[in-house]
């Protein structure tokens, strides 16, 4: 009782807000529960869905294969399924500090190779599947994984370059960052998919997925570079003085003294950018790649199932939320150390 009074009715303002909130929940929660659970139709039966009042989870049940795996050949869905689990497993495994050893990179290399073999196939009697047909969950996760794996190191180099004593390097880095930041991701993706092939010598082709991936890496690197630069600027001059006085050369000074401190300071805004990037992968939709959100959108175009957008997007939100919330909680626990 006392805890209740102190936390919810500490003052008149807090009391009013508590009452207001209870009122809103009272009005909103029961209808939502009715809709989402009590009146919901769970069977994949469009007629029952249209007749009923509640949510049509049958739609998700019916379309979950396409939503999760996109246009990947139906009978081979076990391959992206294992790849997805493997990739998520790799992320979870890497979250534990005790595994932060040199061999973690070997684990990743082996893991990603396995994922590649599963997704492409073509060996061990597995049918070859060109990456134009990859889609759904695994595409979102792969775009994020490779995007961050390349963009983050690149962003560190850009941030260091922007603070370099060498005018040419500094100008190049500033130019790059400002140019990319000044352009929306959508237009970068369009450029990558439409313009890039025009610049390539004839005969050389880069597939659509790789082009999108490159555009996303370039985009994320510019944003992350500014976050890293913020961390670098927070390092006091005294740290540089001490490193100079000990005769530490540039790269050792940077890697052993400056970056470990700067990156630690940057964890909250870095995770913020990571989360944004994870969600931005959904923009590949516009150049015809079917990530998780695109597959949902396409599922909705099925004549028999039109009109169940709320359920579909709620499902997408939950999936995105699960990943983003996990990232955010992890960063919180990381900051406390």
């Amino acid at each position: 009782m006392r805890w209740l009074r102190e936390n919810f009715f500490g003052g008149w303002a807090s009391g009013v807000f508590t009452l207001l909130l209870i009122l809103i929940l009272w009005k909103a929660l029961p209808p939502f529960i009715d809709w989402a659970f009590l009146d919901a139709v769970w069977r994949p039966d469009p007629k029952a869905c249209r007749a009923g009042e509640g949510a049509c989870w049958g739609f998700i049940a019916e379309k979950h294969r396409f939503i999760l795996f996109g246009t990947y050949p139906y009978e081979l869905h076990w391959r992206p399924a294992i790849a997805t689990v493997l990739l998520i497993g790799l992320w979870i495994f890497s979250a534990f500090r005790v595994f932060w050893k040199w061999w973690l990179s070997i684990v990743w290399l082996v893991g990603l190779t396995l994922i590649g073999i599963l997704m492409w196939g073509g060996i061990f009697g597995m049918r070859y599947v060109e990456n134009e047909r990859w889609g759904g969950m695994i595409l979102t996760l792969l775009l994020t994984t490779f995007g961050l794996a390349f963009a983050f190191p690149l962003s560190i180099l850009l941030a260091l370059g922007r603070r370099s004593d060498m005018p040419v390097i500094r100008a190049l880095c500033v130019g790059y960052i400002e140019l990319i930041r000044g352009v929306p991701l959508i237009s970068l993706l369009f450029m990558a998919s439409v313009m890039l092939p025009l610049f390539l010598p004839s005969g050389v082709t880069i597939d659509k997925l790789l082009r999108a991936q490159i555009a996303m890496i370039l985009f994320a690197a510019a944003y992350l570079a500014e976050v890293v630069r913020g961390g670098l600027q927070a390092i006091p001059q005294g740290q540089y003085d001490a490193a100079h006085a000990l005769a530490l050369p540039y790269w050792r000074r940077t890697c052993l003294i400056i970056l470990p401190q700067a990156l630690r300071i940057s964890v909250p805004p870095l995770v913020n950018t990571f989360i944004g990037f994870f969600k931005d992968t959904s923009l590949v939709l516009i150049i015809g790649l079917f990530d998780l959100l695109s597959t949902i959108k396409i599922s909705l175009q099925d004549r028999t199932w039109t009109g169940f957008g709320v359920e579909a997007y709620l499902f997408a939100s939950l999936v995105y939320f699960a990943f983003c919330f996990a990232m955010s909680r992890y960063s919180r626990s990381f900051e406390r150390k």
């Binding site: 003085d241 000990l246 401190q261």
Partner: protein, 242 residues
């Protein structure tokens, strides 16, 4: 050991040092004092090129400091420095602070570097703190770690830039004691400080600076007993007066 010939230094249009001449011999202990803004810190930071001079010559242990990175590197390997704000590396333990430069600059095997580090930690009387992080230590302890960190590089010359100015009064003595001991062992030292007691007991020479110039340079008995200039007399009355 250190030779400065007509050294001048500007920060934008402000001239911090004006044709300073100064020589420090091997094994000599020189205390630099003077009012704030007189250029003492700038002077000491020229010796390991934390600041670059624009005119004149600075020669340290036979190597002239120019823009040449190799010359700068050679000098920095021979010169240890202790700062007013300690400048320990906060993300590393005390032991890691001490072994970092020997391992990564001098390529000393880690085990040997750790032995050296423990030796110097014992010398500054805090061997039990080796596994702690700097933030867990008092100011006096941190400054003693900073001294040990510089000594681990086996320098020929030690620079001290106001090593006790950021310390609480009760911690000043523990740092000065370590410095006095170091001086007794014959280390060449250049010390910027307001601790006139330290200057009297340890210094071979006191250099008094004002307005970017060396105004007086004399053995402590002479400098404290009979300062030649009015500015030095005024400074001493202010520093010793209370």
């Amino acid at each position: 050991m250190i030779e400065m010939i007509k050294v001048s230094k500007w920060f934008a249009s402000f001239q911090a040092l004006k044709e300073v001449d100064l020589a420090v011999g091997r094994g000599e202990k020189v205390v630099v004092c003077g009012p704030s803004g007189s250029g003492k810190s700038t002077l000491i930071r020229l010796v390991n090129r934390l600041e670059a001079h624009q005119e004149g010559r600075v020669i340290v242990d036979g190597v002239e400091l120019t823009d040449d990175p190799r010359a700068i590197d050679t000098v920095r390997r021979e010169v240890g420095m202790v700062f007013q704000s300690f400048n320990l590396f906060p993300h590393l333990t005390v032991l890691e602070n001490l072994t970092l430069a020997p391992v990564w600059v001098k390529r000393v095997p880690r085990k040997e570097a750790e032995e050296t580090a423990m030796h110097f930690l014992a010398r500054v009387r805090i061997p039990e703190q080796a596994a702690k992080y700097p933030s867990q230590l008092s100011g006096g302890q941190q400054q003693r770690v900073a001294i040990a960190r510089a000594l681990c590089m086996r320098p020929k010359l030690m620079l001290f830039d106001e090593p006790t100015s950021a310390l609480d009064p009760e911690m000043i003595k523990e740092v000065l004691d370590v410095m006095v001991e170091l001086a007794r062992e014959g280390m060449t030292m250049m010390v910027v400080t307001h601790e006139m007691g330290f200057a009297k007991t340890v210094a071979d020479r006191v250099v008094f600076m004002d307005g970017g110039r060396v105004v007086e340079a004399a053995p402590p008995a002479e400098f404290f007993g009979a300062p030649k200039t009015d500015r030095a007399r005024l400074f001493l009355s202010q520093v010793l007066g209370h």
